[in-house]
């Protein structure tokens, strides 16, 4: 009996605390020093903290990342060549290296990255809630994503959607796939393009949709589907880890444009600029012929463009200020630790890797590709 009364009184005290707190004026109603008040004070800050969960827009994500001394980078995690755990447990790949480049630019150390492996369905919310500082996860740039997910930095990889079929099927064009079942991952642009492309040519197909990347390819490999569709680079990459890669052919037809690149959360222009110019810096470095090997020698360069780029001045004057809020020689950190675009590409996707992807559209504009960095001045 008395225990019950006690518990009711306990509840009452709690109610008073909370109601006082809801009223936002605890002190005026209760005498100072009462237990109710001190409890109210300890609750109130929690509530206000909970009500403003996003420190990013106010303080800026650049400051936030510096304070944390670590970059949180959303990646795919199961896509060889782009972001994939190697045998040492390190995240390797083209996308992972751009995460490192950004960490080098902001923190001066390419290893200060925490990789978050995200599924296609998780990546949008992860950006929207600010859980990741940047998303570098073979994500296609579209207008609705640009307005609802985050700001797309320049494309790091120009890709196109393709279809991989079992060689035994003998299909050469999309029209040969009438009645076939195609595996695709949900929440992707390829899922939408697939429906569009086949509707356009009037060919009926069945689709089998999976939420995760691994089940998608596993089901295809087991023969649940006759074909699987995704970005060409992804098909090439995943084919290398099949049991019998030679049994699968990728059709020549390109279903869509798939520009893949980093995405920064909405509403933070300064941070978006940092992400954007980190990508441009790797491209500019390739154009200027600056590599991780010769970047140290550039300090003595006579070329004013190079001097500006690596943040040195010939006569001891203050170096060029990019206005990005980074160290004057941030480019040196990026190039020396991660390399220029060509180095990143060759290391992860070029000849000598199992993928052996041609540069194609991903060559510099001077070589007939689409990579073009605005002037760094």
């Amino acid at each position: 009996m008395s225990r019950r009364v006690l518990s009711i009184i306990g509840l009452l005290v709690l109610a008073m605390v909370v109601t006082a707190c809801g009223d936002q004026a605890p002190a005026s109603e209760q005498p100072a020093g009462s237990p109710g008040e001190s409890a109210a004070e300890s609750v109130a800050p929690e509530e206000t903290a909970a009500a403003t969960p996003a420190p990013a827009p106010a303080e800026g994500r650049l400051a936030l990342v510096r304070e944390r001394d670590e970059l949180i980078c959303g990646v795919n995690g199961s896509l060889p060549g782009f972001s994939f755990l190697d045998e040492n447990g390190d995240m390797t790949g083209f996308d992972a290296d751009f995460c490192r480049a950004l960490a080098a630019a902001v923190l001066g150390d390419a290893e200060k990255v925490e990789f978050r492996a995200l599924s296609t369905d998780q990546r949008g919310p992860a950006l929207q809630t600010g859980e990741v500082d940047v998303l570098i996860r073979n994500t296609t740039w579209t207008v609705s994503r640009d307005t609802s997910w985050g700001l797309f930095a320049p494309t790091t990889f120009y890709d196109g959607q393709a279809i991989m079929v079992n060689a035994s099927v003998g299909a050469e064009t999309l029209a040969d796939l009438e009645g076939a079942t195609v595996c695709v991952q949900s929440g992707t642009t390829t899922e939408l393009n697939l429906a569009d492309a086949f509707r356009e040519i009037g060919v009926d197909i069945e689709t089998q949709v999976f939420a995760d990347l691994d089940p998608t390819y596993q089901a295809y490999e087991e023969g649940r589907c006759d074909a699987v569709t995704s970005d060409r680079s992804q098909l090439v990459a995943r084919r290398t880890v099949f049991a019998n890669p030679d049994d699968h052919v990728i059709l020549e037809e390109v279903l869509s444009k798939e520009p893949l690149g980093p995405v920064a959360p909405l509403g933070d222009d300064a941070w978006f600029n940092v992400v954007k110019w980190t990508v441009f810096a790797t491209i500019e470095a390739e154009e200027l012929g600056i590599t991780s090997e010769n970047v140290a020698d550039q300090a003595t360069s006579e070329n004013p463009v190079v001097q500006r780029f690596v943040g040195v001045t010939p006569d001891g004057a203050d170096p060029f200020d990019s206005g990005l809020g980074l160290e004057p020689d941030w480019v040196v950190d990026v190039i020396s630790q991660v390399g220029n675009y060509a180095e990143i590409y060759e290391r992860n996707l070029g000849p000598g890797t199992p993928f052996d992807l041609e540069r194609g559209l991903n060559a510099l504009w001077t070589d007939g590709g689409l990579l073009y960095a605005p002037p760094y001045r």
Binding site: A51, V209, A211
Partner: protein
């Protein structure tokens, strides 16, 4: 704010207010209500503020936009040109379909398992016990992966399809059986069937009444049944075969026509049924064991057969113990069906995920999904509670 003890109702002379149980009870309830209301309000404000800060609108306007994505199986006509609302409805129907079929099958299997657990046959008893322990103590998600990838996807490919005659086919792409197709006389035949059903029911009712009065039943129940079958057969011939079966036909990539059970659906259904049946088996066993021994002995003493003892004495009494926990097993099954996302069956949750992703509006979509699951669960509970009340009335 005003719920504090000092300002409430006037107390009676002798008992101080803070010890007056009636006041305390009411105050306690008010306090709890306030706490809950405040938590909800803070959470809602938090959500809206956060969404506002990120420039995310909150609304359901997207439901009328074109979905653009394909859904693998759909009981209603759906294509990528349908709206998001259509996609959502498709997902909902898929969830309901697998849940309803799953609940029926799990109940039947669970009943068998529960009775087998009590069997005096050592082998049957141990097999049932092993099944229950294995299924209850491993995660459903793992079971689903095994069932889908290690069982259904290992079936023969299209080229080596297992076939029963030219009608039933089984391969990696699913099970294909002939589909009944209504022919012109179908409506007439249905009407004749309805008459037959009425005749059969009437015969049975009459037989019961005569039986209760102690008169001979004249086998009226059997006569009714035979009359029904005869009517059905005559009607079938008279309307010239109202149902024809469409056979699945093999094409280049797949079988076309007929009814198809996809491996995703079958794997999910199998997983849900064998997992839930293990729990239901235990519920049934507990219910049966709770019937007092005296009841059994009395029934046997009356000369009832073992089957009659089970049907007339044990089950009616066990039911009132079984039904409430059974309800929660049904709810579990319906909610567990959302694990479909792992193996690619387009249920409510999976379609919801895709919608959230393609619209960039996770919060409204997830609220919609949650609300729908809540509604499904509440309706299930309501039905089960009604049934429970009926079962309880029988108690004396």
């Amino acid at each position: 704010m005003t719920s504090g003890p000092p300002s409430s109702t006037p107390a009676r002379a002798s008992v101080p207010l803070w010890r007056d149980l009636r006041v305390l009870r009411i105050a306690g309830q008010v306090a709890v209500l306030l706490v809950v209301a405040i938590i909800v309000a803070v959470a809602a404000r938090n959500l809206l503020t956060a969404m506002d800060q990120r420039g995310l609108g909150f609304g359901f306007n997207f439901l009328n936009r074109t979905a653009g994505f394909e859904i693998a199986e759909s009981p209603i006509p759906y294509s990528p040109t349908s709206t998001y609302a259509g996609a959502f409805l498709t997902g909902l129907l898929n969830t309901l379909f697998v849940s309803v079929v799953g609940i029926v099958l799990a109940t039947l299997l669970g009943l068998v398992v529960g009775v087998a657990r009590l069997s005096s046959n050592w082998l049957v008893n141990k097999i049932a016990a092993g099944y229950v322990e294995l299924m209850r103590n491993t995660p459903l998600l793992v079971q689903l992966f095994i069932i889908y990838f290690a069982v259904f996807l290992q079936l023969p490919g299209i080229a080596e399809t297992l076939r029963v005659g030219d009608a039933v086919f089984l391969n990696q792409r699913g099970a294909f059986v002939p589909a009944p197709q209504a022919q012109p006389g179908f409506g007439t035949w249905l009407a004749i069937l309805a008459v037959g059903v009425l005749v059969a029911i009437g015969g049975r009712a009459l037989a019961r009444r005569r039986d209760a009065r102690g008169q001979s039943t004249l086998h009226l129940g059997t006569v009714g049944l035979v009359a029904f079958l005869a009517l059905a057969a005559i009607g079938w011939v008279a309307t010239g075969g109202p149902i024809e079966f469409e056979l699945p036909v093999q094409e280049r990539f797949n079988f076309v026509g007929g009814l198809r059970l996809s491996p995703e659906f079958t794997a999910l259904l199998t997983g849900l049924v064998i997992y839930t049946a293990a729990f239901i088996g235990e519920v049934v066993r507990g219910g049966i064991q709770a019937v007092r021994r005296g009841q059994l002995e009395a029934a046997r003493a009356l000369g009832l057969s073992e089957g009659q003892v089970l049907r007339l004495i044990v089950f009616p009494q066990a039911l009132r113990i079984i039904v409430p926990p059974m309800t929660s097993q049904y709810l579990n099954l319906a909610k567990n069906s959302s694990l479909a996302i792992a193996i690619g069956y387009p249920d409510l949750f999976k379609v919801g995920q895709t919608m959230a992703n393609q619209t960039g509006q996770p919060v409204p979509v997830m609220i919609l999904v949650m609300g729908t699951y809540l509604a499904i669960s509440l309706v299930t509970s309501l039905l089960m509670n009604l049934y429970n009340r009926r079962v309880q009335v029988l108690e004396r």
